[in-house]
Amino acid sequence: MRYVSEFRDGRTGRGLAELIRRRADPERKYHLMEFCGGHTHAVFRHGLPDLLPENVELVHGPGCPVCVLAISRLDQAIELATENDVILASYGDMLRVPGSRRRSLLKARSQGADIRIIQSTAEAVELARAHPEREVVLFAIGFETTTPPTALAIREAAALGLKNFSVLCNHVLTPSAIQSILDSPDVRELGRVRVDGFIGPSHVSTIIGSRPYEFFAEEYQKPVVISGFEPLDVLAGIAMLIDQLNEGRAEVENQFVRGVSRAGNVKAQKLVAETFELRPEFEWRGLGNVPYSGLRIKTEFAEYDAERRFRVTEKPVRENKACECPAIIRGVKKPTDCKIFGTVCTPRNPIGSCMVSSEGACAAYYRYRHRRAG
């Protein structure tokens, strides 16, 4: 594919890795957090840890939309699908995620619930149009990249005058999550996680731009480099972070100039701002309640809000004791620290969301590491 394969070239990759080795000061360590699970997968898929010098360590962050969804929110979706006789439209990644009491959307579906996998929010609107006698609920999850299409679906449903379409909104914000990590006791007091700089996800920034990171680059004195998802992009981003750290700078830099600007996609931002508003706080798996980190549908579009339409309840849930996902999401543990990683918990029989999701850290380790080692 054009503009994909060129950014995977092996010789250039080794060249950039050499650049990193030369620039990295052997006297110090570099702990760089790749926030996004997409980066985690790219890193392992292309074997980047083997190319990096030992003193450059990548810390995996919480940027996996499936992994950070609180189990109570998944339970709500399962409840909607099983008890309210709706058509639940969901991205495929969510289906096998274990909810509480060993339930999942996939199991609910095999027991008769009407759950449809969609590739695009437009398909959910289409379902509502095709089935005027049924209630259709879009189970919306994801970071800033995925939010504009949800906003568009709500606006389209409004324009079409659909009365049977609503959204269970679980959209979350990247900068709030990064701030929550920097403020967490793991980083501040306990020193269990060390983060010297961030590799920022380019796809999120195509929408929000690079500007939202300026505040905490300055406030927390941590450099951020917005990087693309191909291996050469990630390596270049790492080199840029090392340069900043060596020079004592903490700025926001953009490696993905081919798609990201400082201001981002203003048209998409406007639509999102007109459709959603900030929740005072939102629960993240692993991070707990994070202030101003999630979006809900504005009152103006209340009729499209499944939370108001169906009075879904939020019940407390207990995490599976063996599953280390919450600690992995915080960057405190690695998948291999989990006792059942690769034995009881595998992609075929996932116990936690980090193994289900195509962006989860456990799935990345299993697919690209475990097998090589084994």
Binding site: Y3, G15, H203, G259
Partner: protein, 82 residues
């Protein structure tokens, strides 16, 4: 699910839609978030929506920079070996 890929626009369709080429497969995407797209442009697509234009010139410039770095390092290594 956050995956997004660069694709070439093959044909503009009604209602802010376009036909694109995703690794040899033709697919319909929404252009609602990106203005003034023309046939032959590259856009980055995520869950059925173009989220930004891919600046082809910048992409080439980045690749050129990577090549320069690699060639430079290779030349230096050769010089060291001699």
């Amino acid at each position: 699910m956050c995956l997004a890929v660069p694709v070439e626009v093959i044909e503009l369709l009604e209602h802010d839609q376009a036909l694109v080429d995703i690794g040899g497969v033709r697919s319909r995407v929404s252009l609602a978030f990106v203005d003034d797209v023309e046939v032959g442009d590259y856009v980055i697509v995520h869950v059925g929506h173009a989220i930004t234009r891919l600046d082809v010139e910048e992409a080439e410039r980045t690749l050129e920079l990577f090549r320069e770095i690699t060639d430079h390092l290779a030349a230096e290594n050769n010089a060291l070996r001699q």
